[in-house]
């Protein structure tokens, strides 16, 4: 489903690469944590998977799309295979919950009838069926992340990327979001979570890929967050 082959990414010609000769494979339906400290290369990996960046060298294959060769006009089609949530939620602040989730379906030109059916279903899945009229700025951090999750999933993507999804949340909300991600994974979506939340990673007993200074230092099934020091 996701394959990185000898991927390197440098932002400058002479500096240290953000990712250095990284190879990994993630199967369909897996739940994977990518962990590491700030500056380890985790976010670069997410940006490469979203095709916001292209690798300096190596190949990235996601759901049969070769990202280095992907033409610019094909990028939207590729991104429809991927749901994404961020630490800062990235919701449209001037729109309500329903409009934010519906927006993801509008931009891929789903019929209105389908949108009216899918959005409430997705809001129910994330536990916010009654908040559909609320403006996103009126919601708590946990609720905003749930809206972001609903938006990421409403188009039914086979892959969900979560970049520090609990970074702005308290422990209770963090756990609720992780339980939701686990439920989404159980339904068949491949979930990749980038985080440095040691407690959650250690408790969930999933595959853990540890990145340090742009290099994968460990990749373990039912792994733990390795203390780098």
């Amino acid at each position: 489903m996701i394959t990185l082959e000898n991927v390197s990414k440098s932002y400058t010609n002479d500096g240290m690469p953000a990712l250095n000769n990284v190879s990994l494979h993630i199967n369909k339906g897996e739940f994977v944590f990518i962990v590491g400290d700030s500056g380890s290369g985790k976010s670069t990996m997410i940006k490469l998977l979203l095709r916001e960046l292209t690798p300096t060298s190596g190949r990235i294959i996601v759901n049969n799309f070769d990202l280095a060769r992907l033409r610019r006009r094909k990028i939207p089609k590729y991104r429809r295979n991927i749901g994404v949530v961020f630490q800062d939620f990235r919701l449209l602040k001037d729109r309500n919950v329903y409009e934010n989730v519906a927006f993801a379906q509008r931009v891929i030109e789903r019929p209105t009838k389908e949108i009216k059916k899918n959005v409430p279903a997705m809001l129910s899945l994330v536990g916010l069926p009654e908040k559909y009229r609320s403006k996103t700025k009126e919601l708590s951090g946990g609720e905003q992340q749930r809206v972001a999750l609903a938006r990421a999933l409403v188009n039914n993507p086979p892959i969900l990327l979560a970049d520090e999804p609990t970074g702005n949340l308290d422990p209770r909300n963090s756990w609720e979001i992780m339980k939701l991600l686990e439920e989404i994974n159980r339904r068949g979506t491949t979930v990749v979570v980038v985080t440095h939340n040691r407690e959650i990673v250690n408790a969930m007993r999933k595959r853990v890929i540890t990145v340090k200074k742009g290099v994968i230092v460990s990749d373990e099934e039912k792994g733990e967050y390795i203390d780098e020091d």
């Binding site: 939207p76 990235r90 931009v107 019929p111």
Partner: protein, 299 residues
């Protein structure tokens, strides 16, 4: 594009105006200011041109004939003059017409002493009015070659002044249009910079969830067009009221200048100004949005 997507896009474009109120107001104000200046300038220039054109129509070349000329020769000369491209109209004034006009203009009741007598006998003439007063020299040169013409009266000074003034007006118009264009570009570029800041996040989100460039761009273009229409309509209404009031005020307060100042009707002015201003407004809105969105499409 599907109909539902088109409806959604249009609604989004409309809603965007209210979502970013400050940006929308800045854009409308910018476009309105540019078009207001343009509208005022256009109205002034058109009326000056109109007054000059009116003045030109009063500049006539008068030709008098040899004393022994026949009526048929006068008719021939008339046809020759009428066939000239620079001639707008030719008016034959007989000796008795000339005397009647003279009596009314200069003698009044004292004309009674001249009853039965025409002191202007032999002064029948053609009054020739020109299409373009700058061509007066050409016409006079031609008339000097025509047999049967005794005298040609014309004013080189008036013709030259009007011609020179027309040229000057053209240069000043070009200069002011250039300045207006520069000011407009400066204002629009500032507004576009503001639009970039406002839209960066939204466009980024749209791109990350798989929107094509077309879908991302469309609501912003519709928003730009709507802002352009609003931005053009406001100054058009303002200029319309200002224009009408100025005409009324000037014609009532400066009666003495009524022979010099001639105003075009608001209908004449706005039959050109409305389409030009709308095209300008929509163009500024459309291209301003296009530039703004383009900056963010490469996500």
């Amino acid at each position: 594009m599907k109909i539902s997507t088109f409806v959604f896009t249009f609604k989004q474009g409309f809603k965007n105006i209210f979502r970013n109120k400050i940006f929308s107001l800045a854009t409308i104000a910018t476009i309105a200011a540019c078009i207001f200046l343009f509208g005022l300038f256009y109205s002034v220039v058109e009326n000056v041109r109109y007054s000059i054109a009116k003045a030109e129509t009063n500049v006539a070349v008068t030709v008098f004939f040899d004393e022994d000329i026949t009526d048929s020769r006068i008719q021939e000369i008339g046809e020759m003059i009428r066939s000239r491209p620079e001639v707008a109209s030719v008016n034959y004034v007989s000796a008795s017409d000339a005397w009647e006009a003279f009596k009314v203009d200069y003698l009044g009741e004292y004309a009674d002493g001249y009853e039965g007598d025409n002191p202007l006998e032999g002064s029948e003439n053609f009054e020739i009015y020109l299409q373009d007063v700058s061509k007066q020299g050409q016409l006079v040169s031609f008339l000097e070659t025509v047999d049967g013409i005794r005298e040609i009266n014309h004013s080189d000074v008036t013709a030259n002044i009007l011609t020179q003034f027309n040229k000057l007006l053209s240069y000043v118009s070009l200069g002011i249009i250039g300045i207006l264009l520069a000011v407009s570009l400066f204002l629009i570029s500032n507004t576009v910079a503001m639009g970039i800041a406002v839209r960066r996040e939204e466009i980024g989100i749209m791109k990350l969830i798989g929107a094509t460039d077309f879908v991302v761009r469309s609501p912003f273009l519709i928003e730009g067009i709507l802002l352009g229409v609003i931005g053009a309509t406001i100054p058009l209404v303002a200029v319309y009221f200002i224009y009408n009031n100025i005409i009324v005020y000037a014609t009532e307060q400066f009666v003495i200048l009524n022979d010099i100042l001639h105003f075009k009707t608001a209908r004449d002015i706005f039959s050109v100004l409305i389409p030009v201003a709308l095209v300008l407004g929509v163009g500024l809105g459309f291209f301003g949005s296009l530039i703004t969105v383009r900056k963010h499409l490469r996500v």
